[in-house]
Amino acid sequence: MLLQTCLFLLVLSNFCMLGTPRIRRMTGMTAIQGLLLTVLLCIFGHVMLAVAVLLIKGLLLPGLLWRTLKRLPAQALVCPRKVVPLDVLAGMGGLAFSFWLDGRLVMAHGLFPPMLLPLGLATLFCGLILIVGRIKAITQVIGYLVAENGIFLLGMPLMTTGTAWFELALLLDVFVAVFVMGIAINHISDSFASIDVARFRSLRD
């Protein structure tokens, strides 16, 4: 029951991200996703890893994003509204495709709890849609984080004591990636007075 509730809240947070043009709200949602992943890890019995995930995905990464947002000008914090309905529709398509894929994939019986595989895949797709569909550089970092959350969720039932170290190393990689991207976005914003990636097309050597 708790597992299913957390999975539902995770997919709901995905759609909240797809449905909002405000980047501050999306950053808040990444923190919520970090918390939900912590609860899910506790359900699977990986308490040590849960603490690490809470620190990195629940606090550090949203904190880094928040710090980057504070330095950006106000107009950089809202995406164009016209892409939002398309993103939500694409997310619905992704969800339906995940369920279709779940029916087609041959998995060992009992390996994945019900709904975890399709909703993990749907989270991955939502992250990809955020990367492709939004034109601000910071939403692409958020999309990258959401996609990583989906992959993390898919790996959760496969974790054993040995692989927990591997997951921790991955978390560190993600942390470094977001750290570097945060700095890069600051530099992009300083140099070009915008983080709108559509404008980069007009750049010349």
Binding site: Q4, T5, V11, L12, F15, G19, M92, F99, M115, P118
Partner: protein
């Protein structure tokens, strides 16, 4: 007479008597939020009594459509309300597919009000009628998508099509039993109905019922030319429509209990919902007109999510 029928008629009488209390509660909650004392809770009753005593001023442009429309709207809303399983007891009028009739009875009432607005010959009222038609057309697919979630649940629960496709089955308590049993995604359905309540009853964030003579209003502009007993009928009909939508949500939130506790719980939820509408109106600003379709689109997305997740479990 069986107990469930007694509960039904008691609830129907309660709905007819208490419906004007809902706008009173909403206004009082808004006043408390604004730090004012506010109007009396029974203000709508006083207004109705005053309007019923008054005479009516009719424009020379208007025809019989104008005088008849409020009565048609009220009767349509009353019939729709009578189809609901009030207090958890099946309606004696229930039949297969009655939710379509209920939805279109409300649409008929709206159509009559729009016709009366157009009948005045005022471009201002015509503008309101046009807006009402636009938002109603957008809200209707959301309503039917949400009803589709509920009918699929009823069919999954093993009810035959004859019983599954009526309001009495859809809002009879099985939905609450299902989400209490673990299908948490069904909690999105009452949220969608709450958004529909706000849209259909022209409340903030879609329309502000307190603003008269503003270029952005929808429902109030259509009834500007009505006065006296006809205006009383419109005010009462609006309150009944609010009760109808609140009763739908109460039907989704109440589990299948024994008749009297369930009836009491449903009435309590209806009154609580009016408090919630008051809170929503106090903490939110009205949306710009072009943002309302986005609100309804969000509601449709929530219905679709509930449908996909509940079907795939």
């Amino acid at each position: 007479m069986s107990q469930s029928l007694v509960v039904y008629f008691v609830q129907l009488c309660l709905a007819l008597l208490l419906a004007p209390l809902l706008p009173g509660i909403i206004n009082r909650v808004k006043a408390i939020f604004a730090g004012r004392h506010g109007k009396p809770l029974l203000q709508t009753y006083y207004d109705l009594a005053k309007l019923l005593r008054k005479g009516e001023a009719l424009s020379q442009t208007t025809t019989w459509v104008f005088t008849l429309a409020p009565a048609i709207a009220l009767v349509a809303t009353l019939c729709a309300l009578a189809l609901l399983p009030l207090g958890g007891s099946s309606s004696p009028l229930a039949f297969t597919g009655d939710f379509v009739l209920a939805a279109y009875l409300l649409a008929l009432g709206r159509f009559a009000t729009m016709l009366s607005a157009l009948d005045t010959g005022s471009s201002f009222e015509g503008m309101g009628a046009s807006r009402e038609a636009t938002f109603a057309a957008l809200a209707e697919p959301v309503l039917f998508l949400t009803l589709m979630v509920l009918t699929s649940l009823s069919l999954n629960a093993g009810l035959d099509t004859e019983h599954a496709l009526s309001l009495s089955a859809l809002f009879g308590g099985q939905s609450a039993d299902t989400w209490l049993g673990g299908k948490i995604e069904l909690l999105l359905v009452p949220v969608v109905f709450f958004i529909l309540l706000l849209v259909e009853n022209c409340r903030i964030p879609v329309d502000d019922p307190n603003t008269h003579l503003e270029l952005t209003m929808i429902h109030e502009v259509m009834v500007l030319d009505h006065s006296g007993p006809n205006l009383a009928i419109i005010v009462y009909g609006t309150a009944l429509k609010l009760w109808f939508f609140a009763a739908l949500i109460a039907g989704l939130m109440t589990p299948d209990l024994s008749p009297w506790p369930q009836a009491a719980l449903r009435t309590g939820i209806v009154l609580l919902l009016s408090v919630l509408v008051g809170v929503t109106e106090s903490v939110m600003a009205r949306l710009r007109m072009q943002r309302v379709p986005a609100l309804l689109g969000g509601a449709a997305a929530m219905s679709a999510l509930a449908l996909i997740l509940s079907q795939m479990r």
